[in-house]
């Protein structure tokens, strides 16, 4: 039974594979920055300008994700191949997008069409605000 005054083992004590404790940034400050960015990402799109919406909603999402990956997940302290692994997976996502988008983003092609989407878009254009069913 461990006593109250026993030495608290760190992950490094339990397993030498774990590095000694490293420098920790001011996490509360980073959390504060993330909240400020959250407020901007909500307010920005209210202005109704497409470019502002794109920057404040999605640009800020990228910044927020970067702050979390770097400061909370400490990817900068992991071996380099971890970052490359993550980048490779993101690249696969882009490849998927590039390969599939030409078909998905069209309403018709050679020998095929999407009548449901066409009808929904027509209804939307007419002000009916419809959406396509599968």
């Amino acid at each position: 039974m461990a006593t109250q005054h026993a030495h608290h083992p760190t992950p490094h004590d339990e397993d030498p594979a774990y590095e000694s404790p490293h420098h920790h940034p001011n996490y509360v400050r980073i959390w504060g920055i993330l909240l400020v960015l959250l407020v901007i990402s909500v307010i920005g799109p209210m202005l109704g300008h497409p470019v502002v919406t794109l920057i404040t909603a999605f640009g800020i999402a990228v910044v927020k994700a970067f702050l979390v990956v770097k400061n909370f997940m400490h990817i900068n302290m992991a071996p380099r191949f971890v970052g490359l692994l993550m980048a490779t997976c993101l690249l696969f996502m882009l490849l998927f997008f590039a390969a599939v988008a030409p078909d998905v983003m069209r309403l018709e092609g050679t020998g095929w069409e999407k009548p449901g989407w066409k009808a929904a878009n027509a209804a939307f254009q007419a002000g009916a605000h419809g959406d396509a069913h599968h």
């Binding site: 397993d15 594979a17 959250l38 071996p79 997008f97 959406d131 599968h134």
Partner: protein
């Protein structure tokens, strides 16, 4: 010495502890899963105007509140990691309990939100937008629930100053769940 530990826990390969390596591999596979869903959503959203009409029905304030909850829970998770590195298991466990509380609040808010949307007739079969909405947010919610369960198990041992390295591992996973929501929030709640 008392208990033998599994080789997968003690062995260090690829320049980092095996447990941490495994978590990064899990995250790599998760990027492909969520990435595929998000990429498909973006394609449809960009190509079809009708998508925007349905997206207009989601509640931005609820999405923003849940983003706040997850960001705050991530703060507790990383503070738990810091406490574990300092060998303070009880504090690490407290931080993990607070992180779990954040996850539970997220799920409760989500369930009220979904109940309201379903009552208004927006179900998973209502339209392509709502199919994406429930699939992406539902899969994310399952990850939140899994994270909370694992975190409570890790907190139980951390409280006794045991297996403190696990605090960091569940933290990395939790931050990834947070990041997925950081992208889901603008896609499902803001881009209308």
């Amino acid at each position: 010495m008392s208990s033998a530990r599994p080789i997968a826990t003690t062995r260090s390969t690829a320049g980092m502890p095996t447990g941490r390596l495994a978590v990064w591999w899990v995250i790599a596979s998760e990027i492909v899963i969520f990435g595929g869903i998000l990429a498909s959503y973006i394609m449809h959203r960009l190509a079809h105007d009708a998508f925007a009409a349905q997206a207009a029905h989601t509640n931005t304030w609820i999405g923003a509140f849940n983003t706040f909850v997850l960001l705050t829970s991530s703060l507790f998770a990383v503070l738990g990691h810091k406490a574990a590195e300092e060998g303070n298991g009880p504090k690490a466990a407290r931080m993990l309990y607070l992180t779990s509380l954040g996850g539970l609040i997220f799920i409760v808010v989500k369930s009220f939100e979904w109940t309201s949307e379903i009552r208004h007739g927006f179900t998973i079969t209502s339209s392509t937008f709502w199919s994406f909405y429930y699939t992406a947010a539902g899969l994310h919610a399952l990850h939140v629930i899994a994270g909370v369960v694992i975190m409570l198990i890790v907190a139980r041992t951390a409280k006794r100053n045991l297996e403190l390295h696990r605090v960091e591992l569940i933290g990395i996973y939790w931050h990834f769940v947070d990041i997925v929501w950081i992208f889901l929030f603008p896609l499902l709640y803001i881009a209308k």
